[in-house]
C-alpha cells in the first residue's frame, strides 16, 4: 500500500475581491486584508483529493506537510478532515524570506525525515505567488522523477499512470514510484470534509518540526538560501473607463452595443 505525502500551503483566500488587496511597497509585502479568510491553497486541496482517490482504491497512508507560519488550525487540519492520516507542520523563523528554492529544500528535508514515500503530491502552484516551482524543486532535491499539472493519477500494477494537461489535450505518462506529481483543477472538485472527519482531525496530535528537526543546513534555508531577490512589489494601475451602453430595455441596450461596435469599427 502506497505511502503518500501531500504538501499544502495556507494562504489568504485567492478569490477575495480584488479591491481588498493591498501591498506595502516599502516593505515589499502584502498587507493582510481584514475579513479575508485563510484557506488551503485550492490546487493543494486538489492534490489532497488525488491522494485520497488512490487511498480509496488501494489503501495507503497520507501524510500532509505544511510549511508556514500563523497557521489557523481549523484551516490547516482540513486535509485530515477530508481523510488524510497525519499532518506535520514546518515552522521556524529560519524558513522566512525564502524563495521557491529554499522552500523546496526545507520540504525535501522534511520528506527525507518522514523517510518512506511512494507518491508525493503538490498543487500545480500556490495561489498567492503563483510560481509553480516548489513541486519540481522537491523532486530535484530528492532526485526522483516529477510529472506536473496532472488531472488524473492512478496506480496500476505498481506503476503510476498520470494524465498531464497540455495545451491541446493531455498526455498519459507512466512512471514507477517514487514520484512527485503536481495537481491541477482539471482533477475535479475536492471532497467536502464530513462531520466525523472534522471531529477525528481535531483530535489528532499535530507535530511541529523546526529547521533543526529536519537536519537542514541553515545556509540553504529562508533568505540565506534564496537565489532570487524581490526588488519591488506594486499594484498595477488599471484604467477604468468603461462606457456603459444604455437603452430603454435590455434588448435595446444590446442593439445599441452592436451599433456602437460598428461605429468604432470593431465589427
Amino acid at each position: 500500500m502506497p505511502n503518500m505525502i501531500v504538501c499544502v500551503k495556507q494562504i489568504a483566500d485567492p478569490e477575495a475581491p480584488a479591491g481588498s488587496f493591498r501591498v506595502d511597497e516599502a516593505a515589499r509585502k502584502v498587507i493582510p486584508a481584514s475579513g479575508v479568510s485563510q484557506v488551503v491553497s485550492p490546487f493543494d486541496e486538489q492534490a489532497v483529493e488525488a491522494a485520497l482517490r488512490i487511498k480509496d482504491a488501494q489503501g495507503g497512508k497520507i501524510t500532509v506537510l505544511s510549511l508556514g507560519k500563523d497557521f489557523v488550525m481549523d484551516v490547516i487540519r482540513k486535509p485530515m478532515a477530508m481523510g488524510a492520516d497525519e499532518l506535520i507542520l514546518l515552522q521556524d523563523p529560519a524558513f522566512e524570506g525564502a524563495d521557491s528554492r529554499s522552500i523546496a529544500y526545507a520540504l525535501a528535508m522534511a520528506i527525507k525525515k518522514i523517510g518512506e514515500y511512494d507518491l508525493i503530491f503538490c498543487g500545480r502552484q500556490a495561489a498567492d505567488w503563483d510560481a509553480g516551482q516548489v513541486g519540481s524543486g522537491i523532486a530535484e532535491f530528492l532526485g526522483i522523477p516529477s510529472v506536473t499539472v496532472a488531472k488524473k493519477v492512478e496506480l496500476v500494477d505498481g506503476n503510476v499512470r498520470v494524465e498531464r494537461v497540455v495545451t491541446d489535450g493531455y498526455e498519459v505518462i507512466e512512471v514507477s514510484p517514487p514520484l512527485l506529481i503536481t495537481v491541477s483543477n482539471e482533477l475535479g472538485e475536492p471532497r467536502y470534509p464530513k462531520l466525523k472527519g472534522i471531529m477525528a482531525a481535531a483530535r489528532k496530535e499535530v507535530p511541529t518540526w523546526t529547521a533543526e528537526d529536519i537536519g537542514a543546513e541553515p545556509s540553504k534555508l529562508g533568505a540565506a538560501g534564496a537565489r532570487i531577490k524581490l526588488l519591488k512589489l506594486f499594484i498595477p494601475v488599471r484604467e477604468a473607463k468603461c462606457e456603459i451602453i444604455e437603452g430603454e430595455n435590455p434588448e435595446e441596450a444590446a442593439a445599441n452595443l452592436a451599433l456602437k461596435l460598428r461605429e468604432v469599427k470593431l465589427i
Binding site: 505567488w129 516551482q133 530535484e140 489535450g169 498526455e171 531577490k229 498595477p236 456603459i244 444590446a254
Partner: protein, 333 residues
Amino acid sequence: MAENKGVMVCGEIIEGKLSSITTELLGGGRGLADALGEELSLVLMGSGVGHLASEAIAFGADKVFVVDDPLLKDYQTDSYVAVMEKVVKQVSPNILLLGQTAMGRDLAPRLAFRLDTAVSMDCVELSIDPESKLMLQTRPVYGGNARAIYACEETRPQMATVRSKAMDPLERDDSRKGEVVSIESGLDPSLIRTKVVEKVKEEVAGIKLEDAEVVVTGGRGMGSAEAFQELEALAKVLGAAVGATRPPCDNGWVPSSLQVGLTGKIVGPTLYIAVAVSGSSQHMAGCSGSKNIIAINKDAEANIFKEARFGVVGDYKKVLPAFTAKVKELLGG
C-alpha cells in the same frame, strides 16, 4: 560568473514549426541582448529539427544550437532537463529564457534547481537595469492583483519564463546571417524515467482560441452547457472562437481546453466579449492583452466593468439574443 555571456532562448517546436512563443522570445531576447551588447542564441531540441535553424536566424538569433536526437521527439522532463543542463554548461549563457507553456512550466524550475540558480515564472516584462546590467524580471503575482520585480544577483544564468503574447516577434528577415552549431545530446536512455504512452487531443473545431481575432467568452453566470450554444451562435456570426472562465470548464459545460486565464490559455484578440464573467484577476490574466474588452453582466459592480471598454448591464438571457441578432443584421447576414 564573469564568463557567462549571451542571451539564450529555449525553443519550442509545435507540429514541425517554431512555435509562436519561440519567435516572441527571440524578439524579446534580441532587445535584451542588444542592451547588453551580447549575442542571442536559440536552442532547438527535437528529432529532425535542424531545418528550423534558418528560420530562427531570420527571427533574430545570432546562433542556433541544434540538439537532434530521436529520444527528444516528445517533451519529457528528464531528457529535456539533461540536455539543457549540458547545453547551458557548455555555452555558459548570462540569461536563459523559456516560454510559460506546458513545456516551460515543467522544464524551467527543474533546470534552474539543477543548475543551482533561480527562475522567475510567467514574466510579462524583462529589461536590463542600465547600472547593474542585471535582468529585471516582472511577473504578476497574487493572481494578477500585484506585480513583482525580481533580480537574480549571484547565480547564472538568470532565468525567466515568459507569458505568451507578452513580447513581440521581430519581422522575419531571411537576409539575416547566423551560425548553426550542432551539439550531441549525450542522452542515456536509462535516465528517462517517464514514458509517454498516449497523447490525447481535445481541441475543438474552428479557430484556435490563442490566435483568434475575436473571442466570445462565457462565465459561470451562463448557467449551463446549453447556454453556451447561444454564445456559439454569436461566435459564428462574428467568426470568433469561444472561450470560458474556469467554472464552466470545472462544471463540464465546455471542454477545459477553452479555459482562458492564469492557468488556462492566454488570448490577445482585437475584440473580447465577456458574457456573465465577473472579471477575477486570474481570468483577466489570460485576456487583459485584448485590445477591446466588452462586458455583458447583470451586476453593475462586477470587476469586469473596470477592465472593459464598453459594457451592458443586464441579464444575458435578454441581452445576448438581441445583440446577436443586431450584429447579424449589421454584418448583412
